[in-house]
Symmetry: C2
Subunit: 213 residues, 2 copies
């Protein structure tokens, strides 16, 4: 299972094939069916592996000890760290059918949701505030990471190294883009993540106090 994650990490999602995974394990592909029922389930396993990696990380997952802000900060940063460590596999988290499809946003593991709600409740969040916080937090976090990861991983399939003949693709037609080329190319994703997270925590703190009205 962890072999599959490693495989995706360096071969890309479309590089993961039963036959290739098999031979990378020194075994014929057909043997894999002794351990998992099929490729779909293999992918589900990959997602679970990553998600559990987040759940088990001591750094990430512990009840709040320095306030809920610290709790959510750690959660957000921890999830981001692991997502960025597996850019090619992370999109699966969103594309596999979730364990709880009725959840908004849907998520794969309820274990996770439970401990999230638990953490907030222990910090004095009302039920309503905790649910609203869940919504805002997960949709920010997943949305942001799905985008950030897509600019890395970009699993194109076994597209051979593309020639660098691709000019800055007729930048001539786009004067504004050309002029701001430098600024537009800077990677601020980490700083932006920080800013948006700050902003989100502020909004959540409003939610929390609002509840008493």
């Amino acid at each position: 299972m962890t072999a599959a994650v490693a495989f995706i990490d360096d071969q890309g999602l479309s590089g993961l094939t039963m036959r290739r995974l098999g031979s990378s394990l020194g075994v014929e592909a057909m043997s894999l069916y002794r351990y998992i029922p099929g490729r779909q389930e293999l992918l589900d396993g990959v997602v679970d592996t990553i998600v559990n990696q987040m759940y088990d990380d001591e750094e990430i997952h512990q009840s709040p000890q320095h306030g809920w802000q610290d709790f959510l900060q750690r959660l957000a940063h921890g999830v981001r760290r692991i997502a960025l460590a597996h850019p090619k596999a992370f999109p699966l988290v969103a594309s596999r059918p979730p364990e709880a499809p009725w959840l908004r946003p849907p998520l794969r593991n309820l274990k996770w949701v439970e401990s999230f709600l638990d953490g907030l409740a222990s910090e004095g969040f009302s039920d309503e505030a905790a649910v609203a916080a869940y919504r805002a937090f997960t949709s920010f976090l997943l949305g942001h990471l799905l985008l950030e990861v897509s600019s890395l991983g970009a699993d194109v399939g076994p597209l051979d190294v593309l020639e660098d003949d691709s000019q800055p693709s007729s930048l001539a037609d786009y004067p504004r883009v050309r002029r701001l080329h430098g600024a537009l190319a800077e990677d601020h994703s980490a700083a932006e993540f920080e800013m948006s997270l700050e902003n989100l925590l502020e909004r959540i703190s409003l939610l929390q106090t609002e509840a008493s009205s």
Copy 2:
């Protein structure tokens, strides 16, 4: 090309196969190679079709006439509408290699970026503010939509209709989740989109005025 989009819309991404697309057009698969070089390029074409659909929509794409807030509102809503109309195809927008990989966030069509920057400039945005607004706006919009779309489309592959034997999967183990089941299941994605967009526009308006300091 539009045939391919329609195909994905109801068969899912993994249902789109050269052979099947061919026969849905009343032609042998091999003929398709007269028109496009391969499957990868077909997918690129699908993305371009969708993106152009957004670009050409009169409702969406016009220079600001009622202020930049209205401009961005219309843009956001228009893009969302089209994304939700093609939930199975939209993720491709993020996973295909972009035309301008150096852009942060990377995007497929510079045409789009150019007119975005143009619109803001015509509303008095400085270069720096326009770039910052581009970053914040696109990463919010794409991030949010990627997540929202994934809870629809969910292209699992030709997984036959799964039996409804799937209990509310041992909800017993998660008392908190069970208790808040009702609240957690409500779909507020539209309202949340609205709220986050509001919030984003406020942040952008700060950016804009800050520039003079």
